[in-house]
């Protein structure tokens, strides 16, 4: 039906430039897109996972420079460790320079806090899959909304306690299971307890262990689009996991008011990259890669879920495997194994 042809005879592969005499205005579409995006606003859903006491809520407040965490919303609840993993999500509308964003922070109190932590990631997996399911249901409706509300978890920040040794089995298990369904960003929490050398060796050990266990954290190597991307992402991969310190209190340092933690031996400046890597995390998550994180969730994790789900129904509803040209016919073993891992 169509063939790509160049209007003027040029070497194949070359893009045709519009003549300089007059300006067509195609690049005005960028402005139009920007306008549309500003009007619609953005959505971002972050999940924080880690044992209690690692500073998750504080970090969220620091990242988004406002009281977005669950604790700020429920100030009067006494801090008790729940008996099972609960999922609590809080949504906020934030706005900056005309850009509106609906930010949802999903907290998981109770994770890793029990004596027996077996399968404590399952409620989390279930929650994530439930969000995918809701989206899928809406997508296959006949009368569907113009903009399907996106509650899918875009990013999961996993807090590693600063032991300085290596990853604990719980950490490995959790990340191994969840890196397949969501973008995981591991961070070393309360990093002000590690000296710089300890921090570096800890990070190296963690990276080794992640590699050894085949855990792909964000940014995943396989989703790099081109050489430029790969370069940028390689730099990030060398720094993972970020050693962060969170704080929502301001102190006076050198005449400026900055966020920090004041101790007897000095003040740790949160946004000083010589002190901790909070700034890198913030840049990655918000300033440079937010769209990319959302894209990977949308086009890869969600699609994987969708494929699996649709194939499951296929097997559910037919006694024989379908003989019409279904692009993916999974082996029954594969599906069964996956199902057991989900359950």
């Amino acid at each position: 039906m169509s063939e790509a042809t160049k209007p003027q005879p040029q070497a194949k592969g070359e893009k045709t430039p519009i003549s300089d005499t007059s300006y067509v205005g195609i690049d005005a579409i960028l402005e139009q897109m920007r306008r549309k995006a500003m009007k619609q606003g953005f959505e971002f859903n972050v999940m924080v996972v880690g044992q209690s006491g690692l500073g998750k809520s504080t970090l969220m407040n620091t990242l988004f420079k406002s009281k977005v965490s669950r604790k700020s919303v429920q100030p009067n609840v006494e801090e008790r460790i729940p008996k099972t993993v609960e999922i609590k999500s809080v949504s906020h509308d934030v706005e900056e320079k005309g850009v509106r964003m609906k930010l949802t922070v999903i907290d998981t109190p109770g994770f890793g806090d029990q004596i027996n932590n077996e399968n404590c990631w399952q409620p989390i997996m279930k929650f994530i899959n439930d969000q995918y399911e809701t989206y899928l249901q809406e997508e296959i409706n006949i009368n569907r909304k113009k903009r399907i509300p996106d509650t899918r978890v875009h990013c999961c920040i996993y807090f590693i306690p600063p032991t300085g040794h290596c990853l604990r089995p719980l950490d490995v298990e959790f990340m191994r299971h969840l890196s397949k369904v969501v973008n995981i960003v591991p961070v070393i929490a309360k990093a002000d307890t590690l000296t710089l050398e300890e921090r570096d060796s800890f990070k190296k050990t963690i990276r080794e262990e992640l590699r050894a266990n085949g855990i792909d954290v964000y940014p995943q190597k396989e989703f790099d689009e081109d050489a430029e991307d790969r370069m940028i992402n390689d730099k990030i991969r060398e720094m993972i996991p970020f050693a962060v310190v969170g704080s929502d209190q301001e102190y006076q340092v050198n005449g400026k008011r900055i966020l920090g933690r004041k101790t007897k031996w000095g003040t740790i400046e949160v946004e000083n990259i010589a002190h901790c890597e909070f700034a890198y995390l913030r840049d990655l998550l918000i300033r440079t890669h937010m769209q990319n994180i959302k894209d990977i969730t949308c086009s890869i994790h969600y699609e994987t879920y969708r494929v699996r789900r649709l194939n499951e129904s296929n097997i559910l509803f037919t006694s024989n495997p379908p003989d019409h040209p279904a692009p993916a016919t999974p082996q029954p073993n594969g599906v069964a194994a996956h199902r057991s891992s989900v359950e």
Binding site: D27, M38, S66, V99, F127, I142
Partner: protein, 440 residues
């Protein structure tokens, strides 16, 4: 484990919190734009209009390049659609532009079915997208979107009113695509006639319920310009790729003995308005409308046609899949039934043929028997005849010999003595006896 949502249902859906510092997500629109730039854009225009109205020239003028193709002949037997894709680049924006032309529109003697191929084409693009969306393993992000985003309808510059072909075609297309009507070759109409023509066209469109594309007025930054432009529809355009020197500049124009029509002069024609609206202001909105309105409508109709319905809140999930499976089983059942029927019919026919053949065989046998009998009868008759003939021959022989003998005797009765002895010597004794009888 059920998830609890705190503070999600307040008011519109979430509470607003003030930020105490610069977070940095104001770069989100930039991130989004960068991603789109890397990905490239695509835009598909459909040009509908009679042959010779300057569609290809207008496309060339709009996008400032020479698209390929020679003018088509006027003797096409039906309306076909020819589409060409071009890759254009301006600064850092890459655009995959597809221009679809209707070849032979309005040339036939009987134009009743002219609109059909256009509608089919548009539906085919929607169908392709729907198929991709419904696939299990799909690649929507790298899918080359071929759905028509804008339809430029070229109206012939008669100066009177819309032709009925135009009205019928536009009515069929208005729910499938964004229609932007334009008056082609508008340098053939004078200014006063043009104003009247535009009013006539708009009123005819309204009275016939044709929904043309309205430039959106909900965004404040473009509301004003869009609403002014809305009142200038349909745009009266002139297209030209030739350049003429006016003053000290080379401008695109058409040169006549009585003057020069400058394409980009707003007092001469509405070309600049069209370019402004189509490309510089509303390209993204056209794409969005196509996806959220026209495509959704097509999808809804198609799925309902296939028998799917949305589920009730408490029924099983994936009714799409379920209904599909049920339909498929139904279809397979029908197929099997048909197969069975055909098999039965075949068996029947075979039986009949067999019976026929048997009949024929029997007849043949009978015939054979009959013939045999006949043959035997004839043979018998023949034998009888032969026998009788033989008898006759014998009788005749006897008579002959008797007659001869008599003759001889008669002769010998005269010279009988000598002859007697001779005869006695000659004649055998029977004859002697006979003669003796005769003497006495």
């Amino acid at each position: 484990m059920a998830s609890t949502e705190i503070a999600r249902q307040a008011g519109e859906g979430a509470r607003g919190v003030p930020l105490s510092g610069h977070v940095g997500f104001d770069s989100m629109p930039d991130q989004l734009v960068n991603k789109s730039v890397n990905h490239g854009f695509c835009f598909n225009i459909l040009c509908v209009g009679e042959t010779g109205l300057g569609k290809s020239t207008l496309m060339d003028t709009l996008f400032n390049t020479k698209f390929e193709g020679e003018p088509t002949q006027h003797n096409q037997p039906g309306v076909t659609l020819k589409s060409n894709t071009y890759e254009l680049q301006e600064s850092n924006v890459r655009l995959k532009l597809t221009v679809v032309n209707t070849v032979g529109f309005g040339d036939q003697i009987n134009k009743e079915d002219s609109y059909k191929s256009i509608v089919e084409f548009i539906d085919a693009q929607f169908e392709a997208y729907l198929q991709e969306e419904l696939k299990i393993k799909r690649t929507l992000h790298s899918y080359h979107d071929t759905r028509i985003h804008a339809c430029l309808y070229f109206i012939a510059p008669t100066g009177h009113s819309l032709k009925s072909l135009d009205l019928v075609t536009m009515k069929k297309l208005d729910s499938k695509v964004n229609i932007i009507p334009i008056i082609a070759k508008s340098d053939a109409i004078s200014k006063s006639e043009l104003a009247k023509f535009k009013i006539k066209i708009t009123s005819e469109l309204v009275s016939n319920g044709v929904q043309i594309y309205q430039f959106p007025t909900d965004d404040e930054s473009v509301a004003e310009i869009n609403s002014t432009m809305n009142s200038h529809l349909p745009f009266a355009v002139v297209g030209s790729t030739e350049e003429v020197k006016i003053g000290n500049k080379m401008v695109k124009a058409r040169q006549y003995p009585w003057g020069t029509v400058q394409v980009e002069n707003e007092t001469h024609c509405d070309f600049v308005k069209l370019r402004e609206m189509l490309i510089r202001v509303n390209m993204e909105d056209l794409r969005e409308q196509t996806h959220t309105r026209h495509y959704e409508l097509y999808r809804r109709c198609k799925l309902e046609e296939m028998g799917f319905k949305d589920t009730d809140p408490d029924s099983k999930p994936f009714s799409l899949q379920e209904t599909y499976e049920a339909k498929r089983n139904e279809f397979m059942g029908e197929l099997q039934k048909k197969e069975e029927e055909m098999r039965q019919m075949f068996v029947q026919r075979v039986k009949e043929k067999e019976a026929e053949l048997k009949e024929a065989e029997k007849e043949l046998h009978e015939k054979f028997d009959r013939l045999k009998k006949l043959h035997q009868d004839e043979k018998k008759k023949l034998e009888e005849k032969k026998k009788s003939l033989d008898d006759e021959v014998n009788t005749f022989k006897q008579k002959k010999t008797a007659a001869e003998l008599l003759q001889n005797q008669a002769q010998q009765a005269g010279g009988s003595t000598t002859l007697k002895r001779d005869k006695e010597r000659k004649n055998p004794p029977e004859t002697h006896l006979f003669m003796m009888n005769v003497v006495f």
